[in-house]
Symmetry: C2
Subunit: 219 residues, 2 copies
């Protein structure tokens, strides 16, 4: 008789996927569109979220779930923009999982919300493996990180529906090659939408917000 | 009788620590000083390593182990600097562990080397949990990532012996507050050495290389 092997990582991922499917049904019932935002630390997730709030808050009721290993630095920024926010502290875990989102949506409440934004833990690797019941995955790459990142961290680039290339205001001071980046990313994921933006100056944010709004309405 | 719980994560970490101790003895016997470099993706690990090679390669024989999820982009840059290098592809894993380093040192060879540099996977979270038998842990934070990172990703800042604050050439174009960063980091880890540098222009690298050379000689 062959020995049965227990694949611990595989089991964790499939339990997470099942829970994520349940979350997705709950989001559908509540008519909430859910976006999962992922990036390296410091690529600009919170700044992008603040720009989305600025552009959409008068038309769509927004809720935000903030994922961090420690601290409530980001949640306090969102709260200052007068949007409902729940902070998850993962106590060391390097990504959010569906179980954490279940707890956070219970605390936040979905009633009447049109858009739920989930800010994942800053990490270009692990968050891409965990479904959270989201409708779209959006990732951010800062031009300060360099255009070679898709080759070195492929999963998030292949899993995402949209890529924001943030901090284009720093382009003149870096050797970031936007054409090279586009070529690499599109070869890996032909359907991905790429938006060069600066959350700092607001440049390019209108195109991304337009895409997001189309997705919310088309749901 | 109480149920015995199996702590899978705890077991993985303690097996890793034991293997890391074995590696450390092997490094001591071979008289190789070992530095583990960690940071977010794109903070400048490879560029810093190239500066170290430029400064030290005529006095110390150097070997490099490159850790990436995929690709050999970084290893080819090190090879071009005429230094022995081994590339580890982790096939999805978000950090290096002691077992990977055991395989890589066998492939690289330690004989005659004075300094072994291990470039970890770009990730501000998980690599901090895994000992690799190193003598010093060095982390890099790019000024483009922002000065609030220690609060959000505390473990790496408390585990590291030195912090390189890289890309200071971008300081005029960001709102990075160096004094605030120093204050936060030193409160978490009073013994850490902080070096503002630009691997691009070379600024500040002499002080860091001086510290590293003292550590190599003082071993």
């Amino acid at each position: 008789m062959a020995v049965k092997m227990i694949d611990v990582k595989g089991d964790i991922l499939s339990a997470n996927d099942m829970l994520a499917e349940g979350l997705r049904s709950r989001f559908e019932q509540a008519k909430v569109f859910v976006m999962n935002i992922m990036s390296s630390p410091g690529a600009g997730k919170t700044s992008v979220i603040l720009r989305i709030i600025e552009a959409l808050a008068d038309r769509v009721r927004i809720g935000v779930i903030e994922g961090d290993i420690a601290s409530d630095v980001d949640a306090r920024k969102i709260e200052a923009a007068k949007v409902d926010v729940v902070q998850i502290n993962t106590a060391g875990a390097c990504h959010l999982d569906a179980n954490m989102i279940l707890g956070a949506t219970n605390a936040l409440g979905l009633d009447g919300k049109g858009l739920l934004i989930i800010e994942n833990v800053g990490n270009l690797v692990c968050p891409a493996e965990f479904k959270l019941g989201e409708h779209v995955k959006v990732m951010i790459l800062s031009v300060a990180e360099g255009h070679d990142k898709p080759l070195k961290y492929p999963l998030m680039f292949t899993e995402s529906d949209a890529l924001l290339v943030n901090k284009v205001d720093l382009l003149p001071y870096t050797d970031f090659d936007m054409d090279e980046l586009r070529k690499t990313v599109i070869a890996m994921n032909p359907k991905i939408r790429i938006f060069p933006v600066s959350a700092k100056t607001g440049e390019g944010m209108d195109r991304f917000v337009g895409w997001l709004e189309q997705n919310i309405q088309g749901r």
